[in-house]
Structure formats: C-alpha cells, structure tokens
C-alpha cells in the first residue's frame, strides 16, 4: 500500500513509506516529526480509537472503511460532527461511529480532525485490478458531472470537500449511493443534485475511476508539489 507521496514534504513522504505501520512503529517515530502538544495527544488517541479500522496512518485495510489520510481537517471535523449529531446513517458502521463521536467534546473533534489532516494521502483505493473500460467511463462521468468543480482538478478536495482520489472503491460506492438516494445528507443537497440521473452502474464506474485516480495509476506522472495552501476557498 505504501508508495511515494509527491505532494508532501519530507515528513509526509517518509510517512507514506510506513503507511501500514503498526502503532509500535509509530511510537518509534522521531518525536520531532509528530505534532506537538495537543496534536501529539490526539495522535495517541487516534492510534487507540481509530487506527484499528482506519489504519495507523489513515490507510484502511478494512472492507468498506474509508481511508482518512489526506482528508482536509474541515471535512474530517464536519463528518465527526455529523456522526455525533446522529446525522450520518448511510453506512453499516455509522452507528458505531456515532457512538464513538458522542463521547467527543468540541475540542476532541478539533484534535482528531487536525491529526487526521496530518496523515498522508493513500496510495490508492483499488480493491481489485483496474478495468480500463470502467475507468474511462468513470472519467467521462466525472467530467460531465463537474466533480472537479468542488473536489479540485486532482480530486484531492479541500476545506469542507473531501479527497476522493485514491479513496477505497467500496467506500466510494457506498457514499455515492447514499448521496444519490438521499440517505446521506451533507449540510446541503449539493451531492444529491450532482448525482441526479446516474444509475447504479454509473456510480460503480465513478467509484472505480476515483479509487484509481492517483498519480502513477492513470499513466500520468506524479503531480509536482506546489505552493502551500493559501486563499482560494473552494
């Protein structure tokens, strides 16, 4: 699962190399590379409460469970908030997540989401080999439905919008189905509207495309690292 992570600095790149590191390995991480203070506390709590399903570095090995690596803090805190409110009922694990989130105060939501944002993007979300025809159909649908308008041209998300590039394909399919049926609601119905008119096979192709839409996997060379985030609300 581990792979080069061209968008990150040295820490992220090294972190990606241990994307499936156990907590033991994490504990051996040089102290300076971990977030200081409260961030460190939430790294510890993440390891204890989240890592067994979502992976020590945010790359999930568990069916249907999303990668958290590379998600913007804003998106992560919004989802934790919606779980805590009992407003995410679209996923088999939602009750468990809601139970967990109900024990979190506002500071915890911030701490966990800030820590999640430090985890490296996953190397990919493939749960099987890439199918060229499905990838092409998904790519065409992503273009037609303007996915990049909010998720970014590289589908890496930003602020309240999640990274979908390289997310687990099985999770993406649940998410897309949930949005289309209205079972999953964000603050608005933007996703429901964006997906209107798409059939089940289309959603599968979209999920397949996004899961494989990572540098290297599409025949594209790695995107160069660029300036740090600034301005430009999505």
């Amino acid at each position: 699962m581990a792979g080069p992570c061209p968008r990150r600095g040295a820490v992220g790149r090294a972190a990606a190399l241990v994307a499936v590191a156990s907590f033991t390995a994490l504990a051996a991480w040089p102290a300076g590379a971990l977030a200081q203070g409260a961030g460190g506390a939430y790294a510890q709590r993440y390891a204890e409460q989240c890592a067994s399903c979502h992976g020590a570095r945010g790359t999930s090995e568990m069916a249907l469970v999303p990668h958290l690596g590379g998600q913007p803090a804003f998106y992560a805190i919004t989802q934790l908030f919606l779980f805590r409110e009992g407003r995410r009922n679209d996923h088999p694990m939602a009750p468990a997540m809601s139970a967990l989130a109900k024990g979190m105060n506002d500071g915890d939501l911030r701490g966990f989401s800030d820590h999640i944002a430090t985890l490296p993007p996953p190397a990919g979300g493939a749960t099987g080999p890439r199918d060229a025809a499905r990838f092409a159909r998904g790519l065409a649908l992503a273009s037609k439905h303007h996915c990049t308008g909010c998720h970014g041209a590289d589908l890496a998300g930003g602020r309240q919008v999640p990274r979908v590039a390289g997310q687990r394909e099985d999770y993406l399919l649940i998410a897309l189905k949930g949005f289309r049926s209205g079972v999953r609601l964000g603050y608005t119905n933007a996703m429901g509207e964006a997906l209107a008119g798409l059939g089940e096979a289309d959603l599968g192709d979209l999920a397949h495309f996004m899961a494989h839409a990572v540098p290297g996997a599409a025949g594209a060379t790695a995107a160069p690292a660029a300036a740090p985030a600034s301005g430009g609300r999505p």
Binding site: R7, R8, G12, P72, A73, F74, I77, T78, F81, R87, L109, R110, D114, A117, T118, A132, A133, A136, R137, L139, A140, L141, S143, K144, H145, H146, T148, G149, C150, G152, A153, D154, G157, G158, R159, V161, Y187, T188, N189, A190, E193, A194, A196, G197, D202, D205, A213, A218, G219, A220, A223, A226, A227, P228, A229, S230, G231, G232, R233, P234
Partner: protein
Amino acid sequence: MHATTSRPGANPSPGRSRSLGLRLLAAAAIGLIALPASAQQQAASAPAPAAAQEEPFWARGRPRTDVAMRMAPVPAFPIPTAADKLPIAKMKLPPGFKAEVFASGILDARGMRQGDKGTVFVSSLFVAGKLYAVVDKGGTREVKTLAEKLFLPNGIEFHKGALYLATPKDIVRYDAIEDHLDKLPAPVMVYDKLPGDVPHGWKFIKIGPDGKLYVPVGAPCNICESDDRYTKIFRMNLDGTGVEVVAHGMRNTVGFDFHPKTGNLWFTDNQRDWLSEDLPEDELNHVSQPGKQHFGYPYCHSGDFADPEFGWGKSCADYAKPAAKLGAHSAPLGMRFYTGKMFPAKYQGAIFIARHGPWNRTKKYAADVVVAFPDGKGGVSRVEAFLTGLVENNEYLGRPADVMVMKDGSLLVSDDHNGAIYRITYGGKK
C-alpha cells in the same frame, strides 16, 4: 477560528491542483484513442442526465473560468467559537456604541425573536438544524436546545405566547412555549403545503400589523423561470387559510419587517449569482401596493438591467424598483425598523440590516450591519455603515445573519459563522 484547519499541507492549494486532473480530463478528450474501441463506445454512450441536473443549484450559471470554478458557498465550521475568541475587539461602531457578547455556543445562530417573558429564541439552518432559547438566569444566560434534527428551520416568529417555526415544507406552532422550555409541547400544524425545495426554500417569517403570517417562497434555483408557487411573498391567516400574494418577482428574501407608521412591508432580496463580480446589487424593497407589484426576478435585476438570458423582451420599466441597492452579492438577510428608545434620535424608524457577506465574489466584503434611512416618501435617502470590521485578509471573522431590537432598545446581532449573538448598546449623548 479557521486558522487551525488551514495548515499548509492539510488543504489543497489552487496552484497545485491542476496537473493530474487536467491530464486525466484531457485524456478524456484525446487520450481515449489509446483505449479499446469498446471502452470508447461505452464511455460515449453513458446516459446523459438532464442538463439542469448536472450541477448543484448554486453552481448553475457559473462561468467556466478557473476562478469561478473554485468559488462555492463559504463553508460553515461545525463548532461555535469560544466566547473569549469572538471578534468583539475587531468590531467598529459609530461613537458612543459598544458591542458585547450576549450569548455564545449557539451553533449556526440565525434568526432571533424575543418572547413576552424575555426568552430569546434562535433559529439555525444547514449546519445545526436546531431551535434554541437563550434564557436569562439573573445575570447569566443559559442556552437551551429546544429541538433538533429539523429541516432547515430558519424561520421563526413569536406571537401571543406561541413560537411559529417554518421549514421549507411546513409551518408549525408551539403554544405557550415559554412555559415549556424544558420539554416542548407537541407542535400544531399551521400550514403544510409549502413546496419543500432546498434551494432558497428556507424561510424568514413574520406576523404583520394586519395579524397575518407573511411567508416567502424563493426561487428553486439560481436563475430560472418557475411556476406560481415560487418567487413570491405570501400572507395567510394564522390558521393557514386565506393565502394570498403580497409581492411577486422576489428571488430569495431572508429578512423583512413592517414600517412602524405605514405598516407597509419592506424586504431584503438576494439577487442572482454568477452574472458578474459587481452585478447585480442586492435589494431593499418596499411593498406599497400589496399583491400588485413585481420586483423583477428573473427578468430585471436591481431595477437597472434585464437579465442576459431571461430578460430579452422585458423592460425594467415594467417592474418595481428597489428602495435601495445594497451591494453586489452582499447577502442582506435579517432587517428591523428601529423603534427602541436607547439609540440616538436619528435612528428612529431607520432600518438595521444584517449583511451576511458574499460567497459569490472573489473579494469578500460586507459581513456587517448597515442602516438604511427611509426618506418619508417611500424610498431611502441613504445607507450608512453601522457595525463593520469583520472582514480580514479576504476571510470572514464573523457573518451577521439577523438583527433584533430588544425591549430595552439595544440591538442583538446574530453571527452564524461563530455561533454567537452580540448585543449593541448606546451609552453616548443623545
């Protein structure tokens, strides 16, 4: 408060967001020749959804330029700002006025109404979906959550002991609510035939001096023609009967009030997106002939010019002009005529307006409270800044959503961005 979520590396930057995706999407145009022919055919034969369903409603009409493609509604943070972090020190007010925190920890605080016994009821919208009450406990104020998991419950009104609550779908009433703040009584249905659309379906409601309930139904889109259920302000009896149109051609009003002397309805109206950074200007309108005036949408904007798509064959001369123009995309929401005794005499009968600040504009501004001074002839003589200072480095430090005059003449301002309510008092010479 957003600073903690915007570390470099945690968010994408516009500058680095192009290469892979553009290459992928370019591949859709030219790279497909490398794919098997069958894949091309399947890709080409993907079902085409209706054009109107391709994008979220707020994005329709958006130009295909890079800057516009990155502009979306300003996201709301799901945690209210702690009282000691609220931007009180940043606020600028005219001499003699002072701002303080009235209540904090009210996630997504939007509409405000005061009950007979002093309770301040607070509505919310997308983020919280809750109804709150701020209760004075003799020096300290307690925030209670009265109801939750509500559907965009922005519209509230207090009348004869009851709280009316409007969602995009229906209007209910909680009787004797101030006697039941620990457990709300079962809601009584007032009206359940609203269209229920999400786009501009959330409400601002008020009961007029005629004893009728005023209920708007905004456009179910950014810019479109729609059927008779939309783009109007209606009024009805308090039991939901006798529905009639008060104003036509309204796009999205989230604030109105009645002139203290004439009783006429005045309303703010948010104009269309994506036309230009600087056009159209949002409106303050005056309904002088209930049911007979059309305020232009979707044909004429700001009383000035015809819509580039829907305005052909239309003339702005045929539509009611706004009493005042309030700035492009400035998002004027709650408004009240000032009838209190605390502020200087010049504010008597003037209109305080909360401007939420634009999302549909590259350069952010407004996010303030302005005052419009009626000229006594049905128009407005001037619009003055009142509470400013909440835009810094092109980010909002706060976003006023509603204003309310308290019984003591002070002015409350809700801020949904921070989940707080501020109180403005005057201590200077009158």
